[in-house]
Each structure stands twice: as structure tokens, then as C-alpha cells.
Amino acid sequence: MKKSALTAGLRAAAGHQAQQVTATAAPSVTKAKTPPATVLIGGHYSPEVRRALLLVQAEPKNTGRNLKQLLGEAINDLCAKYGKPQPYSGEA
């Protein structure tokens, strides 16, 4: 089945193998959302807290996650503990 320009565009954007697009439909009213903004979440802690985080980062179990990603993981664990949706998806 020949894929339409819309389907081909969707597949390319989703990261599927690119397909030849022969025609492009005229964009109609486009209200595509902009990428989500980010906010700073931080706080001042004693140096021991930072050292502990660095130790976690250095753990052999950690497969390359940086501090920000580890903190996102911690936030998800905290939300799970309190029965809240886990908001960090790892891409930010």
C-alpha cells in the first residue's frame, strides 16, 4: 500500500525509517504545541548530600546516567511513594 504524505511524515517524525514523500499537503490551521518549557527545581543542601549523589552516580549499577537524570529518577520514586503520577520521562 502506498503511504500518503501525511502517513509518511508521521512515520518520519516518529523515528521510523524514512520513506519517500512525493507530495506535501498544504498546511492548514496548525496549532502544533511548542516543545515543553523546563523549570528549575533546586535547593541548597550540605556538601555531604552532593557527595552522596556523586557516589550514587559512580555506582557500577549506574549505566551512564548523569546527575540530572538520577534526580529525575529520584523524583519519580518520591512520587511513587506518595501515590502520585511519576512525571519524569527521561527525555528532558
Partner: protein, 219 residues
């Protein structure tokens, strides 16, 4: 482009069937429709493979690509995008709800599903409280469970879709061959209910009051 997200925290409550049924209704109404399948089980994408027709356009994608895929849908000429989500993936639910102009939350009329509404409220809060409604789905034809479920959702502060989707064999039979109930049995009750649901969503996406058109509410 209007974006509808269909979310829920349990599997098997009819999210994908609802997404595909609404998508076909929109296609039949002349709209250019993109269905974005965030579920790793790719049920919607598999349905599209069986379907063998181009419309609606269905694509499976990861949550992290949702923004790009929505942008591609708009640029490709889609005027209606429907995001189908997996249960148990709160980041997918949040991302879908954030991107949506309207969020539909199908639940079955049973306590197991009603209990998830609290978590869904948290998801909506994290997503910035987009316009939303609970849809009672897969309701038994006999009895009043659907009415009681609607009342329970209302008591918890949710808007409730006046249309009820009842458990009818046509939905499953149609999905087996890549169709919607409307295509499988055009004059059947399942088709009528899906048509009513699409009318409701169309009104909601235009910012209309949900109560303006009370459709097909069973006595």
C-alpha cells in the same frame, strides 16, 4: 489542528477501540485524521496494518517523539489528531494530556476502574488541567451500572460524557478485520453510539458546552 488524548490507568477499558472508532467517524465526516499510538503494544498500529486503507493515518511512536509527530501531523495537513495511550505509563498520560485540546478518559463501570479516577485527576493536574471528560465505556447493556458510574465520576468532580459506549460485539468483530463498528455494522447500535460520541467530542473541541447536546443517553 485539534488534538484529542484518550487516557486511562488500566488496560482493557477500551481506549484504543474508542480512539479508532472516533478516528473513523472523523474520517467519514471528511476530516484528515492522524492517530498517534503511544502504546508499546501498538494495538492501533496493528489495526491499521490489517485495515489496508490509508485513512486514518496511524503511527506508533515513543512518548519522547510526541511533539515532533504532532508537528508533522499539522504540517502534513491533518486537522484532527488522536493520541492513544498505554495504561500504567504516567509519563505518557501526562505528555498526551499536555498536548491535547480535550482529554477523554474511558472507564468501565466497575469499582476497579472508578478507583483510578483519583490518579487520573493527578495526571490532569500535572498536565495543567486541560478540558476533559470521563467516558463510561464497555458498559453492560443490562442494568444501570453506567448511570451509577457516571454519578460516581461526577461526585469526584469530573465532567462526564453523556454518551455511553456499551459492550457490543461489533467493536471486537470490526477490529479483527481493521474496521470500526461503524464500518462493520453501519446501522447497528455500536455505530450509533460511536457517532454520538464523535458529535460530543466535536462540540467539546470547539469549546462548546457539553450539555448543549445531550445525546443518546439511555433512560
Amino acid at each position: 489542528m485539534h488534538v484529542l488524548a484518550i487516557i486511562g490507568q488500566k488496560g482493557g477499558n477500551g481506549k484504543t477501540t474508542t480512539a479508532l472508532g472516533v478516528a473513523v467517524e472523523a474520517v467519514l465526516a471528511g476530516r484528515s485524521v492522524a492517530v498517534i499510538d503511544l502504546d508499546p503494544q501498538t494495538t492501533a498500529a496493528n489495526w491499521s496494518d490489517r485495515r489496508g486503507k490509508e485513512a486514518p493515518s496511524v503511527v506508533s511512536c515513543q512518548v519522547s517523539r510526541l511533539g515532533q509527530v504532532l508537528e508533522a501531523a499539522a504540517k502534513g495537513g491533518a486537522d484532527f489528531a488522536i493520541i492513544d495511550t498505554p495504561g500504567k505509563s504516567t509519563d505518557a498520560l501526562i505528555a498526551a494530556a499536555k498536548a491535547a485540546d480535550f482529554v477523554l478518559m474511558p472507564i468501565q463501570p466497575q469499582l476497579y476502574d472508578i478507583e483510578t479516577l483519583g490518579s487520573l485527576k493527578d495526571v490532569l493536574t500535572l498536565a495543567g488541567n486541560p478540558p476533559s471528560a470521563v467516558l463510561v465505556n464497555r458498559a453492560p447493556v443490562q442494568g444501570k451500572r453506567h448511570v451509577e458510574t457516571q454519578e460516581a465520576a461526577t461526585e469526584q468532580g469530573f465532567a462526564v460524557c453523556p454518551v455511553v459506549i456499551f459492550a457490543r460485539a461489533a467493536h471486537g468483530d470490526a477490529g479483527n478485520i481493521g474496521q470500526s463498528a461503524t464500518e462493520f455494522e453501519p446501522k447497528g447500535k455500536a455505530a450509533q453510539e460511536m457517532s454520538d460520541l464523535y458529535s460530543y467530542i466535536a462540540i467539546a473541541l470547539k469549546g462548546g458546552r457539553h450539555e448543549e447536546k445531550r445525546i443518546n443517553r439511555r433512560a
